[in-house]
Structures are given as structure tokens and as C-alpha cells.
Amino acid sequence: MALLKVEGLKMYYGTSEGEVRAVDGIDFEVGEGEILGIVGESGCGKSSLASTLLKLLPSNGRIADGKVLLDGEDLIPMSDSEIRRKVRWTKVSLVPQGAMNALNPVFRVGDQIAEAITVHTDVSNSDAKARTAELLKLVGVDPTRGRHFPHEFSGGMKQRAMIAMALALSPKLVIADEPTTALDVIVQAGIIRLLMSIRNEFKTSFILISHDLALVAQMSDKTAIMYAGKFVEYGDSTAIYGTPLHPYTIGMIGAFADIRKPKEKLVSIPGSPPKLIDPPPSCRFNPRCPYAADICRTKEPPLEEAMPGHYVACHFWKEIKERTGTGT
């Protein structure tokens, strides 16, 4: 059984102009020790999805529908105190976006990690400290640096400290929202290696949320491409990157500068993502899509299983599959 199973999840933000459908019917599964990458552009709802999974919603956000089953137990009906006691940190933890700025600047880094431990479990302070040192060592930070304040850390070290904090209570699932944005490429490589080694050592599952196709390709077992609140393509990473079937995925890969290839002209996807307020029943990508036809403007394509374990939401995936042969 999958560790986390999400079914038909919908989360809307109430605004004065109407409801913003940030997460609009999402299904996926994450198995033990598996890394799911969610790729999307800014405003596609990927961070909203992350906070919905832990029910960390702003006051105007509401979960309209769906289930989030963790080990078979639905998190949606749980009360705030219950989810705090039973789920957050202990089973699922979040490395928030801009984690470098998520540390409190006036407390020592080690104390902040120890606090997460003592608040959620009944261990003594000295045990918590020992665990903190162990965690810092695990993420590749000198344990004596725990006495230091966040401003004495570099960006990469702060990110490592945040990861240490997320791992403090050995959760089964870590949601990492843009874990390497704003880091330099060599530091980013170090963080990627760290996350991979944690997965291999502790069988921790990860949901990796990023705008960077290549980063997700490097790390994840499964990949979901998100566009305007929905998954447009979802499946094994090798399938998604090897034989992409959705025009958006194909466009994204074409627009991405690949360091291995010789000099090439990049192709952009024309237009920009739609507003998510009361979208009409249509494929949300149709204004930007080279394959768009009448059906795309009137009927929303369902997420279909094109190949075993490879789902795509496009009316024309069969044509695309034929045209691209085995994939581009």
C-alpha cells in the first residue's frame, strides 16, 4: 500500500473576484522510499498543493473536496490539534519554500532544531541536544556549529539545517518545496546528493516541488507536470522525460537549456498561464497549445492512462504519440 494516497484533492482560495481554483482535482500516490517530483511554473498551484497536504492553509483557503490518505488514514477530516499531534513533524514534515529565511534569526540553529524535537516528543533536553548534533552531522554540518546563529551560516548550510529539522523526528514523508531555489549550482548539487543519500539510507519518501525540470529529473522516481491547478502528465520519470505526451511537457523540455546539447535556439511556449478564477470547462492549456482544436475549448480532457503507469490529460495524446514516434 502506498504511504500517501491523494484522491481528487481540491483547494480553493476565496477572493473578492471569485474562487481561485489553485488545486483542482489532483490524484497521486507516493510509495515508501519514493521520490515524487512536481514540476510547474509559478502560479500553477504547486506550493498550494504542498500546504494542502499538511492542511497548513491561509484563512481564505478551503479544501473543497478530496482525500489525503496517509497510511490509509484520511487527514482532511482531522482537527487542527489532532493533525498537529499525529502527523506534522512526526509523520510528514515540510521544508518550506525559501527555507533559508525560515530560521528564526534570534535563536541558535541547534536550539531551533532541538525545539522541534522537545515540542513533539517527551525526550529530555540533553537527549534532544544529542539528537540535534547527530542530525547536523547527518546533513553535513559540523555539529559544533549548532551554537551559531542563522546569520553565521551560509545559504547552503541554512538549507541543510532546515533539512535536519525536517528529519528530526524521522518522518516517513518529507515535502520539500523548492529546496534549492536561490542556491548556487555547486551548493545545489550538494543538497541534491544529501537528499538522495537520506532517501537511500532511511527509506524516507519525498515530495519534491520545483519549477526546475532538470532538478526533478535528477532526483525523482515519479514526476508530475502541473499546469493551472491540475496534473497534465504524471508517471515514471523515465517515461515523462523520455516519451512526453502532453504538449505542455514537450514545450517545457524544448524551452529548457540543456547543457549537454550543442548551441541551439530555444523555443518558448507562447502566451502565459490562465487565471484560475472560475475557469471554463476546457483544457486549460488550449490558448497556448499548438495542437488545440475545438474540442479543447469545450471539453476538459481527463487524466488517462496512456501507457502503464503513464497518465496524460490531453485529447490528442494518441496523435502526439504517433507523430513523435517513440518520443523526442
Binding site: 511554473e41 548539487a189 546528493r193 519549477h211 529529473a217 535528477q218 522525460y241 524551452a255 540543456d258 518558448s268
Partner: protein, 481 residues
């Protein structure tokens, strides 16, 4: 004096003693102050001449020391003259020479003056002769930019040498007409400082910037105005670099009006429409009176590019022009810039941290590390077959959109150190898998090792070989991850 009575004489003697005391105190104060000034001057002495001049300029020492010292000196002279006058009134006229005051003035003006003159003079001698004007649109010649680190009074009393951020250190390159030149490196490598200095937003500490053969680095702001429209800039974040309260027409046309390039509003509208269609904002009429909040990120950045292009520049400086944009719209902004280059034959200096992107967009690429260029050459070659271990580490760390590709590797230990006290010798040696003792002693010069390819590394051959074999470093080493 004999006609004064005993009491008065005693009073006078007392007064004289006080005056003497006052004089001594004043002179002592003056000397202590001058000594402090001298100590400050000496504090700078161990630094290189360039650093000294930067120190003076950056910390305002040039102005402050003589000014404050003069204040003290004048005060002391005033005291003495006062005293002399009083003695005169009392009929006690005595030769009071204003020697202390004069000495103070000498210390205040002449000594710093001489020091400055000498350092300035020798700095001029040390500067390389101005390079002959070439066809390059922009030529950066031995550019150095230090920023002073804030220093407390206690630091200066301790004679701690003033600290400097060595943001850019002896960087030279040139950009030909119609060329796109890329500067790549991690944050803190000084690439943005090069751009800001090339724009003369901040004057260089040393070195020169030639724009079309003219040295603009020593120009007054007034003279520079003539060159401002010729050198335009596109900033990183289009959400911050366009004024949210101005419609597109105002944003784009502002430069035209400021530089008196148009005589009427109709003419300005005409030019703005033309440039908007050039940056693919079609139909341009529709965008003319829109505000930035009505535009997407990519459109805003294209407005920023239009604002630069409308002045018909020869050179555009682009600071990470697409790093804030989503992948799907990056290409359109890049293609707009490339098309503008092809159509107008302008030159572009592009600062970026994205090696994959620079390969696709840039003709020549220079890799910077801690304020120095470590490698330069044609972008495709530098990225595909790097010579410098640092470039090697950068390219190996870039992820590719293919799950079956070889995993990314970390080939440099730790993180970029501070450039307040950059490592001696080769600045990359503490992180380099190829480092040998010589690397911490001798700084490798940037040498041309193959046609068009320059590298600053003692062991570039070894590094290159190991790269071609797909190794992480010299045989037998294990690079920490």
C-alpha cells in the same frame, strides 16, 4: 612692571601660569590628534597603493582627516592669539609665536597632502599605460573594485588594517560590435559589480573602462551624460525594475524625453510603437497605456528591453535577464534580445549564473570566481570542454532534464569563501581537487592556452585530461560531497 603692586603681580603670575598650562594642553591635544591622523595614514601604508586610494576614497579619509585636524589647529591658534591679546592689554606683551598652530596646519594639510600626492603619483606610475583604442565597443582594462568594510574607531586605534571586499580584482575583457559576452559565476563572484562598474554606477578603484575607445572611467558625471543613452541596462527582476505607477508608454519614452531625442509627443509615440513591436508586444497600440501589473513577467521584461532599445544603444548590459522568469517564457525574452542584436548589431554584456543558458545565447564566455576571471573563451567550448577545475565543477553540477543521464557531481569542496580576505595564490585552491602546494603560493596568470581559450590554472592540463576521462579529480583522490 615695577609700578604694579605686589598683589597684582601675584595675580598676573597666576594668570600667566594658567595661560602656559592652556597652551601646553592645546598643543598636546593638537599633537595627539596629528598622531592619530598619522597612525591612520600608517595603517593604510602596508596596503597596496590601489587599496590605499580605495581606502581614502571609500572611507572619506581624504576629506575628513585634514578637515577635523584643521578645526583643531584653528582652535589652538585662536586660543594662543586670545592669550596674546589679553597679555597685550595687561601690558604684558611678549613674543607669542603661533608656531604650534602653524605646525598643526602643516600636519593637517601638508602631511596628508604629501602622502596622498606620493601615493597618487606612484599609483599613476603603477597603472598600465592606457590601452590603445580598439574596435571594441566595450573594453574593460585591469578593472579592480574594492569596497571598504566598515571600520570602528577602536579598529583604527588598534591599527588593524582596513578590510576590503575584493569584489573585482584585475579583470580585463573586451566586447566587439555585435558580440554577446557572458560573465558567469556563483553569487559573490563579482559579476554584477563588473556590470555596475562598466555602467559607471560606481567608479572603479583601479583600471579603466573604454567605451568605443574613450575612457569613461575618469569622466565627470556631466561628461558621462553624453554616453548614457549609448549604454543601456536590463535588470534582473522585471517586477522591480519597471515603475508600477507608469504606463508602458511613459516607461519606454522617459529616456527619449530626458535625452532630448524627440521633439514632440507624436514622435515619441511613433518610436515607442516601433520598439514595442520589435520586442514582440503586438499589437503595440494595445500595450501603450497598460500598467505593469496588467502584464505578465515576460512582458514586463520585454518592456524593460524596449526601454533600453528605444534609445538606440550600442551596448546593452543585461544582469541575469531571465533568471526570475519561468522556463516556458525565458526563451521568448532571450530570442527578443538575440533578434535585437542581429537587427541592430548591438553588443550585449550578459551576466548569468546559468551555464546551460549562456551556451545557447552567448558568443564568448568568461567564468568568474571571487573577483577574478578564471577561464574565458567561446561559450560552447568553455561549457563542453572546460579547462579550469572550477568550470569543470560548475558544469558537472548542472542538472539535465533526463532521469537516465549520469548523476550530477560535486567536484569542489565547501562553499565560496568571503572575498574580504581572499585565499592567497590561486583563489580556488582551498576547494580544488587538483590543488598542490604551489597553488597557495603563486597566483596563476590568465594565459591563452589554445586559440581563443584563456585559463588561469597551474594544472589546467591535468584538470582537462581528467575531465575528458570523466573523472572527479586527479587519480586516487576522493572529493568530499
Amino acid at each position: 612692571m615695577s609700578d604694579l603692586n605686589e598683589g597684582t603681580r601675584r595675580e598676573l603670575a597666576k594668570l600667566k601660569r594658567r595661560l602656559t598650562l592652556a597652551r601646553i594642553v592645546a598643543s598636546l591635544a593638537l599633537f595627539v590628534w596629528c598622531g592619530a591622523c598619522l597612525a591612520l595614514e600608517l595603517g593604510y601604508a602596508p596596503l597596496s597603493i590601489g587599496a590605499q586610494r580605495a581606502a581614502y576614497v571609500n572611507e572619506g579619509a581624504l576629506f575628513l582627516i585634514p578637515a577635523v585636524a584643521t578645526g583643531f589647529a584653528l582652535h589652538a591658534v585662536g586660543n594662543l592669539r586670545n592669550a596674546a591679546q589679553r597679555e597685550d592689554i595687561l601690558g604684558l606683551k611678549k613674543k607669542v609665536s603661533p608656531v604650534w598652530g602653524v605646525l598643526g596646519l602643516v600636519f593637517a594639510f601638508v602631511v596628508p597632502g604629501v602622502v596622498l600626492f606620493l601615493s597618487g603619483g606612484s599609483a599613476k606610475k603603477m597603472d598600465p599605460p592606457p590601452a590603445p583604442p580598439s574596435n571594441a565597443v566595450l573594453m574593460v582594462d585591469h578593472l579592480t573594485k574594492y569596497f571598504g568594510v566598515r571600520r570602528t574607531f577602536v579598529d583604527s586605534l588598534k591599527r588593524a588594517p582596513p578590510g576590503f571586499v575584493h569584489a573585482v580584482d584585475d579583470v580585463s575583457f573586451s566586447i566587439d560590435r555585435g558580440e554577446i559576452f557572458g560573465l558567469a559565476g556563483e553569487s559573490g563572484s563579482g559579476k554584477t559589480t563588473v556590470l555596475r562598474t562598466a555602467l559607471m554606477l560606481t567608479p572603479p578603484s583601479r583600471g579603466s573602462i573604454f567605451f568605443e575607445g574613450v575612457d569613461i572611467s575618469r569622466m565627470s558625471t556631466g561628461d558621462l551624460k553624453k554616453y548614457r543613452p549609448k549604454i543601456q541596462v536590463v535588470f534582473q527582476d522585471p517586477y522591480e525594475s519597471v515603475n508600477p505607477r507608469m504606463p508602458v508608454f511613459d516607461i519606454v519614452s522617459e529616456g527619449l524625453f530626458i535625452n532630448h531625442l524627440v521633439s514632440s509627443r507624436e514622435e515619441a509615440v511613433d518610436r515607442v510603437l516601433k520598439v514595442l513591436s520589435e520586442v514582440q508586444m503586438t499589437p503595440p497600440e494595445e500595450y501603450l497605456y497598460r500598467y505593469p501589473h496588467e502584464l505578465s513577467g515576460g512582458q514586463r521584461q520585454r518592456v524593460a528591453i524596449a526601454r533600453a532599445l528605444v534609445l538606440d544603444p550600442d551596448l546593452i548590459l543585461a544582469d541575469e535577464p531571465v533568471s526570475m522568469l519561468d522556463v516556458s517564457i525565458r526563451a521568448e525574452v532571450i530570442n527578443v534580445l538575440l533578434a535585437a542584436r542581429d537587427r541592430r548589431n548591438i553588443s550585449i554584456l550578459m551576466v548569468t549564473h546559468d551555464l546551460a543558458l549562456s551556451k545557447d545565447m552567448v558568443d564568448d564566455l568568461a567564468i568568474m570566481y571571487l573577483g577574478k576571471i578564471v577561464e574565458s573563451g567561446p561559450a560552447t567550448e568553455v561549457v563542453a570542454t572546460p579547462y579550469h577545475p572550477y568550470t569543470h565543477a560548475l558544469t558537472a553540477a548542472v542538472p539535465v532534464p533526463d532521469p537516465q543521464a549520469p548523476k550530477i557531481r560535486v567536484l569542489a569542496r565547501g562553499e565560496i569563501p568571503t572575498n574580504i580576505a581572499p585565499p592567497p595564490g590561486c583563489r580556488f585552491h582551498p576547494r580544488c581537487p587538483f590543488a598542490q602546494p604551489v597553488c597557495s603560493e603563486k597566483e596563476p596568470p590568465l594565459e591563452e592556452v589554445a586559440p581563443g581559450r584563456k585559463v588561469a590554472c597551474h594544472f589546467w592540463k591535468e584538470a582537462h585530461e581528467s575531465f575528458m576521462k570523466g573523472l572527479d579529480g586527479p587519480a586516487g583522490t576522493n572529493v568530499a560531497t
